[in-house]
Amino acid sequence: MAGRVDVSWLVGGPQGSGVESAAGIFSGACASMGYHVFGKREFYSNIKGEHSYFVVRASSGEVRSNVSGADIMVAYDTETMLRHHADVRGGTIIYDSGMQKAMISDVATMDRDYAARLGAELAGAGRPEGVEGAVAAARGAGTAVHAVSFRAILSSLAEEAGNPRLRGMTRMFNVIGASLSMAALGIPEEATRAAIRRAFAAKPEVARLNEMAASRAYSAARSEVGRARATLAPRGGPREGTMLAQGYHGTAIGKIAAGCRFQSYYPITPASDESVYLESHVELGVAGSRPGSTLVVQCEDEISAIGMAIGSSIAGARSSTCTSGPGFSLMAECLGWAGINEVPLVITLYQRSGPATGLPTRHGQDDLLFAVHAGHGEFPRIVYASGDVEESFYDTARCFNYADVYQVPVIHMMDKYLASTILTCRRFEASRVSIDRGRLLTRRAGEGYRRFALGGDGISERARLGVEGAEFWCTGDEHDEAGHITEDPVVRAEMMRKRLSREGLALRAIPDAEQATLYGSGEIAIVSWGSTKGPILDALEEVRAGGGPEMRFVQVKMLHPFPASYVAHLLEGATTIVDVESNYTGQLGALFARSMGREPDHYILKYTGRAMTSTELAGALRRVAGGTAGRREVLTYGA
């Protein structure tokens, strides 16, 4: 990674104060310059005031995760300064000089336990328990710390604009902060201003003011900050075919492309962003046909959401719902109904930290075993997980195909980490999306149509509502071929076989490459699923670059039915199996042990609600390689 430019930028502030815009502007500017960008947002379950921050990594090479620590931080509120100063070891901090005298006790929003630990730490080092202590500590760690008066910049802006009311517009602090740091990083002013214009495209007046503020900040930076230690020199401009996407764009646009025409949902973090996106892109162009549309229905609860999606699927539309753990818990019963009635359905499950309400805006991968087992009784299903945003676009279309072809509910596992990232990736290629509706009957059937006909490969023809001569019945009770209730033990057994054999069928028919992916090689093998992919790939590079061994990584995408023999094939010759997951119990490990006849040797787990950084993961992997790792390696980085 020599010669590689790689800068981690951190911005924090109270929720609702524009942290996101700041990150958007920074990311936009970097992307437009041709850098790879990867950022993630941390925030409280709160609307205004609690601490929120964004760490964005910009690099000349591919980036797929965050690292521990930051190269440059901009803090326009006290809490950010207090919480994150230690993240910037040896880098650059720019903070608003207005907070200089603030103490920990002035920050009402900080978790009490957190505040207590921080206070003890500063006090222990003999430093004041406030911003001054933080500044001293940072300097002690070799960080360049610059106090800049954000208010002075605002005042000069107010003067320039001839509008004294601007003096009080502290919500421009975010743009000022971003611009200060961007100036320090050597990002051309015009790149920053262009990014601002894009961010506020809908409000030209706001854009103009913010551009002016940026300009003033650039001047201030020149005189008061100078050049940061890390820099982002101009590059050749945006890379061809690159998008700057948010995490939920993958599944949202994936649904549109896959022909999902009905989405029912009940609001829940971090799932509703997807539905809100669909709601604002309702009317659709369709090649060779009249305009299409996605009907998005906000329901009274998640039971209704899945119930409506099932009703719509029976009517013939590709249908979906999108939720998070609490909502998914409520869907368990209806899921079984879809199972016994062989209804295609895609449930996009954006996981967050549970149980119960848990940490509603924090990351977790703790719903895997629940997704595999949700709902009483036994019925076929597919559980499928995407590793990153780009994958999630193509996977969404696959999930709909699996649902239609195997006539089963498909649970598409996503998570909060994926949802709240912003990143550059290749433009999705809709032309690569194929659609297979399986045995969907839209025209008059022959005589004696039977929805649940036995025989063949266990997949019967599925009529949609409204097809003449193809009336049918469904029931959550055990049923005969026509769909009428039966309690006959022989038919029962046949129907159980018909339904559950579909899992084996899917396992055999779905291409191996869609079930699991192998990266790298080596005797130490990581098995993992979902959004740990980015941190793992980056950590593997880091280990190798640091002189550590080459390792292999098996990303399991189809979690249920579990592709045991293909995974075994990919693991041939591996001596050490390391399970990596963002949960407490090692849920993939349990599936692995059940199917593979052996447990993983090590578990690298994290359950603080924060996603893994490649740095801490690389550390744990080095311990595994060095033989010093325990059976459970627990990661904890991040505020």
Partner: protein
Amino acid sequence: MAPSLSDYKTGVHNDWCPGCGDFGILNAIQMSLAEMGVARHEAAIFSGIGCSGKTAHFVNVTGIHTLHGRVLPFAQGAALANPNMRIVAVGGDGDGLGIGAGHFVAAGRRNVNMAYIIFDNGVYGLTKGQASPTLKLGTKTKSLPSPNVNYNVNPVGLAVTSGFTFVARAYSYDVRQLKDIIKAAIAHEGLAFVDVLSPCPTYNDINTRDWYAGGGTGGGDGAERHSRIYRLEDEGYDPVVHFAGAGELNEKLGQALSRSLEWGERIPTGVFYHNETVTPYDGRIRDQIRNYAENPPALQAIESGGRATTDVSPMLDELAA
């Protein structure tokens, strides 16, 4: 050839108890479809779980027998995905007003174009006679160990309060009125609700057919007893909201609620409330999706030769770096 009544009957054995009021409702539904000439493939019955839930298997149109309490979400999903279908939802009083009450209230707010019929017998039939939400406080049917400790829900009152735009009550032994009401409910543009009083001779020994017919009313021996049930229309009751606007609306809602509270000696049936001044859900959607009716979700083309045909480039362009 116009379909006849028998075309709407399946050969599935009906295992309701002899004398169950539900038979009358089943007949009325079949007659309604036949008289309205609804093509078999253009209708679907959705049902909940309970004795009443089996109805979906007895009517020879597509039948979707859902889960306990969930008939409305399933049915609305189908009605929204293909508004050209005639959707009739049916279910028990426990199903719709106990476990399903939340969906009931929400459905009223949505006003999707379909009809919903509750088989109101005051008990949980299929689970052996526990009190249902419509059983009156203090009533002790033979299957209860002690008198009912819950106040009853008022189905008609709840429906009007929740925004249903057609609200009626009928009696399962007055099949003619019932059928007329069901036809009107199906024809109604918006969400129609019909509460059908339906005796359960097996578990509800209080609100029996004899009771509805006046048992316990009238004088002593030999005195003529009078049916408890009367028809709103016979008293010149006008359920219709003629004008959009608060004044008449309030009055019509108020009279519906007030009539719905009558019980005991005089029990009204008929249409309590009928409001076509409220745009149904599909009408509201048309503001967002102009060709919703012509090209609804269930019927849209999404692929050609196995390739996706939806144009996502506008969305991708928005995101170009």
